[in-house]
């Protein structure tokens, strides 16, 4: 996030796109609710009529996968009506022309047709966003989990740049992180291209710094992204896989493909707190780890705040902290590292990452600090891009519509999109073990628009089978006007009916994020 969570309540206009915030980030949504109660304008772009959409001033109920036309059209209106921040554009951005050209192609009427929304609503949304001083954009996986995920994000940053809505309190572009430490995981260099602290692995001086600190030469060859790893498992090029706290067999798209890959791998290590699909079926070794309540360390939240995690209870049986396990493995492989003390490790991290240099355990005992925090007196950064974009000039992109990888056709006439619900978390390994949550929401369901339900003869509560080109899963039908006809929605949490059996191979061409959000499906009833 470019802004802080607490700032949200001071926003006067919230543009929420591809985020069912009240369910995926309920506590952050409370700040939005507070802003709304204060009278802030709310614009929601979402294929579903979510809680926020219901309470929005403008709900743009777009077809899944049509975010670019929508946002381009908003930009079109802004330029057309002269609502842009010309000074900001002139002084602090570059590549404006490419952007202007691209959006010129998307008058609201054209976008309205593609997105299935009202052109005047697009106009109103654009005006509200552009003319309100404290306007912020908020998005989540509904934006990124598409073949054009990166482009989607670019159109949003275009919008912010064109209006100068960046670099102030409550004003910015805010991706809301799904898992608790996605931010930290990226910061720490769990990325094939970046060393910790977003330092490109291909650049000699970056590597040199780490080679010196770690005392070994490092490979300059960029690594494989997760999706590429899956593919290389297939081709036999990836022979061993070390999985920490994940269950790719549930979370990765096109499950059949993933399974075949795992069949071919020589050696799999899984390190987790529960046995899961992947470890049960493919692990050669399963290492019992500790959960957050049993270890010390830090997490970094969506607002870049590094916060302390503390041990409250002992781990069950012989389970050990991940840190210790990995250090022990390294030792068996011949590396002698510092002892498994979180604080010692963190100091190593902070010493190697200039933006984190000032963050030390003694400073975050009470309250976490937000990076960048370059020195030990730095108060941390509440919001980014103050005064000017960090890279000097904000870069506009000319972005055009990229249709989804798979679109509905005669055979698979419905568009399925997936998401999170309030009551579960990811593959529900933790939440499904809470009886109280299971009471509230216990099994897989699929939301269907009333008109579609009528055409298909499906009743509310009926058992149905959802089929894509790749597989089928069972679900109970929930007939609801939250959706437009032609679109269906299913949660991603239920292991027994994994939505990813259905999802396809569409991925963002640049970062490989799978397209979980658009799949063509058909429905079969189970009899009655």
């Amino acid at each position: 996030m470019t802004n802080s969570i607490a700032e949200i309540e001071d926003a006067d206009c919230l543009f929420v796109i591809g985020s069912n915030t009240t369910e995926a980030h309920p506590v952050l949504a409370l700040r939005m609710k507070k802003a709304m109660r204060r009278g802030a304008k709310l614009i929601v772009a979402d294929p579903r009529r979510t809680w926020l959409a219901q309470h929005a001033d403008i709900h743009l109920q777009l077809k899944p996968g049509t975010d670019i036309p929508l946002v381009n059209a908003m930009a079109h209106v802004i330029l057309d009506e002269g609502l842009q921040a010309q000074d900001y554009i002139n002084n602090l951005t570059e590549n404006y022309d490419a952007f202007a050209q691209a959006v010129a192609e998307w008058p609201p009427e054209r976008a309205a047709e593609v997105c299935g929304v009202n052109a005047d609503d697009i106009r109103d949304a654009a005006r509200a966003y552009a003319t309100t001083d404290r306007s912020g954009i908020y998005y989540t996986l509904g934006i990124t989990e598409h073949v054009c995920g990166v482009d989607n994000v670019r159109t949003l940053s275009n919008l912010a740049l064109a209006t100068g809505h960046l670099g102030r309190e409550a004003v910015g572009v805010n991706p809301l992180r799904g898992q608790n430490n996605v931010q930290g995981c990226n910061d720490m260099g769990n990325n094939p291209l970046y060393l910790p602290g977003y330092q490109l692995v291909g650049e000699d001086e970056n590597r040199a710094r780490f080679e010196q600190a770690w005392g070994t030469p490092l490979s300059a060859v960029p690594g494989l992204r997760l999706d590429q790893m899956m593919d290389r498992m297939h081709t036999g090029e990836l022979r061993a896989f070390y999985v920490m706290g994940e269950d790719p067999l549930v979370s990765e798209p096109n499950l059949a493909h993933v399974e075949e890959g795992f069949e071919k791998v020589d050696f799999v290590v899984c390190q987790d707190i529960f046995l899961n699909e992947t470890s049960r079926r493919y692990a050669d070794v399963v290492l019992p780890a500790t959960c957050f309540a049993e270890k010390d360390g830090t997490f970094t939240n969506s607002e870049r705040r590094v916060q302390r995690v503390r041990k409250a209870v002992d781990a069950p049986g012989n389970a050990r902290p991940d840190l210790e396990i990995i250090i022990e493995v390294a030792k068996r492989l011949g590396a002698e590292w510092a002892p498994a003390e979180p604080q010692v490790i963190w100091d190593e991290v902070a010493d190697l990452m200039p933006k984190f240099y000032g963050i030390r355990y003694d400073r975050i005992e009470e309250t976490g600090l937000q990076w960048p925090c370059p020195d030990r007196d730095h108060p941390g950064s509440k919001f980014l891009h103050e005064g000017a974009p960090i890279r000097g000039k904000g870069l506009f992109y000319g972005v055009d519509h990229v249709p989804p990888w798979e679109e509905p056709d005669e055979e698979y006439p419905f568009l399925l999109t997936t998401g999170r619900t309030l009551y579960h978390y990811n593959a529900a390994t933790q939440t499904a073990r809470s009886a109280g949550l299971v009471d509230k929401q216990g099994s897989n369901f699929i939301e269907i628009a009333p008109a579609d339900a009528r055409d298909l003869g499906v009743l509310d509560g009926a058992a149905v089978q959802v089929e894509s080109r790749r597989g089928k899963v069972d679900a109970l039908a929930v007939v609801t006007d939250r959706l437009s006809p032609g679109v269906m929605w299913m949660p991603m949490h239920f292991a027994a009916a994994r939505a990813n059996v259905l999802t396809g191979d569409g991925r963002d061409s640049e970062v490989g994020t799978p397209e979980y959000k658009v799949t063509a499906v058909r429905l079969a009833t189970h009899g009655h």
Partner: protein, 349 residues
């Protein structure tokens, strides 16, 4: 909002505050001990309990400090004998209907009773009907409820789902989930925020009913259910987590939590937790092993693949749920020990 300063007189002293400050906040800033029950800093002023009455010159009767904004030139007394008498009497009235709850949460009425030195109330009203509900998270001990409406207002103002209501009037007035339904059948999202705002402990966590909160140890840490990073306190007793609370004014969450953060902690002590290393045997099944065996097998497996196919034939998948320190050493393992940049995590957002 204007930041104009205004001056008024509190207990004989001139005091300068920012326009829009409530009398309660002004009193607190000066250290005046004004009792409150229905007031909650995260909620809009309500003014129902009448514990915070103060005397205001020119007003026909005392005014609630929580619900009155300071105006320029006001003359206010926060603690006369007659005020203390009235407040004490109102506290006594509460005692006529309040019965301590059994949920184990702290009870603000204890402090009130102490401050006003209350004995047995002069009248005791009959007990209320108990509320039985099949939800497993939120318990409600109706007899402890003092109708301060904090829970109702929390549900309305903060969550904005209006799943609780103050229903009925007079002696029949009660707080209840909408229409007296189960918490599971209303618009309730089971966030438990009502519990966090209830001063009497009438609302409590069912999963730890009866465990005295004051007897628990707390460890401050961070919730793992999404990227917001709510700061939570794990309440532990006898080495087990028994409930999760959050302190107001702390962290990005300011004391708020969602249903997962507050209630879904059972996985920590679940029987399914892995407690021994497992190694796949000749029979294709996983068998318990010692750490030494497991480590040896990992080292052997990785070394073999590396020798036969090169470092880049090994991939690492980091978890975005582990700590920074955990994932840092994982990529360090991949890069500096194995020698590959094949390290990634699941969700790129």
């Amino acid at each position: 909002m204007s930041h104009d300063k205004i001056t008024f007189n509190l207990d004989g002293e001139a005091l300068e505050v920012v326009a829009g400050t409530t009398l309660l906040d002004a009193c607190r800033s000066k250290g005046a001990q004004v009792p409150t029950l229905c007031h909650e800093d995260r909620l809009e002023p309500f003014g129902g309990c009448r514990m915070c009455l103060v005397e205001l010159d020119g007003a026909p009767r005392p005014v609630p400090a929580c619900k009155t904004n300071v105006a320029s030139g006001m003359v206010v007394r926060s603690g006369s004998d007659s005020l203390e008498r009235v407040r004490g009497t109102i506290a006594e009235m509460f005692m006529a209907e309040h019965r301590p709850a059994t949920g184990g949460r702290p009870n603000a009425m204890d402090k009130v009773a102490k401050r006003f030195n209350l004995g047995a109330p002069p009248i005791q009203f009959p007990e209320r009907a108990q509320y039985h509900d099949r939800n497993r998270f939120i318990g409600f001990d109706t007899d402890a409820c003092i109708l301060c409406n904090r829970c109702v207002r929390y549900c309305d103002e903060v969550m904005q789902v209006t799943a609780l209501e103050h229903s009925g009037q007079g002696p029949n007035a009660i707080v209840q989930p909408t229409d007296g339904l189960s918490f599971l059948d209303t618009s309730c999202e089971l966030c438990g925020g009502c519990i966090s705002s209830c001063p009497t402990g009438a609302l409590y966590e069912k999963q730890s009913q009866g465990v005295e909160e004051s007897s628990c140890d707390t460890t401050r840490t961070v919730c793992t259910f999404c990227g917001v990073g709510c700061v939570i306190d794990l309440n532990t007793k006898d080495g087990k987590v028994v409930k999760v609370t959050a302190e107001q004014g702390v962290g990005p969450n300011d004391g708020h939590l969602c249903t997962k953060g507050r209630f879904a902690w059972q996985f920590i002590h679940h029987d399914d937790r892995l407690s021994e290393p497992l190694v796949r045997g000749e029979d294709g099944e996983l068998h318990a092993a010692t750490w030494e065996e497991a480590y040896a097998r990992v080292a052997e497996g990785l070394t073999k693949v590396k020798q036969e196919h090169g470092a880049d034939s090994i991939g690492f998948l980091a978890s975005s749920r582990c700590t920074n320190e955990d994932v840092y050493v994982l990529q360090k393992l991949a890069r500096s020990v194995i020698g590959t940049n094949n390290v990634h995590s699941c969700a790129a957002t």
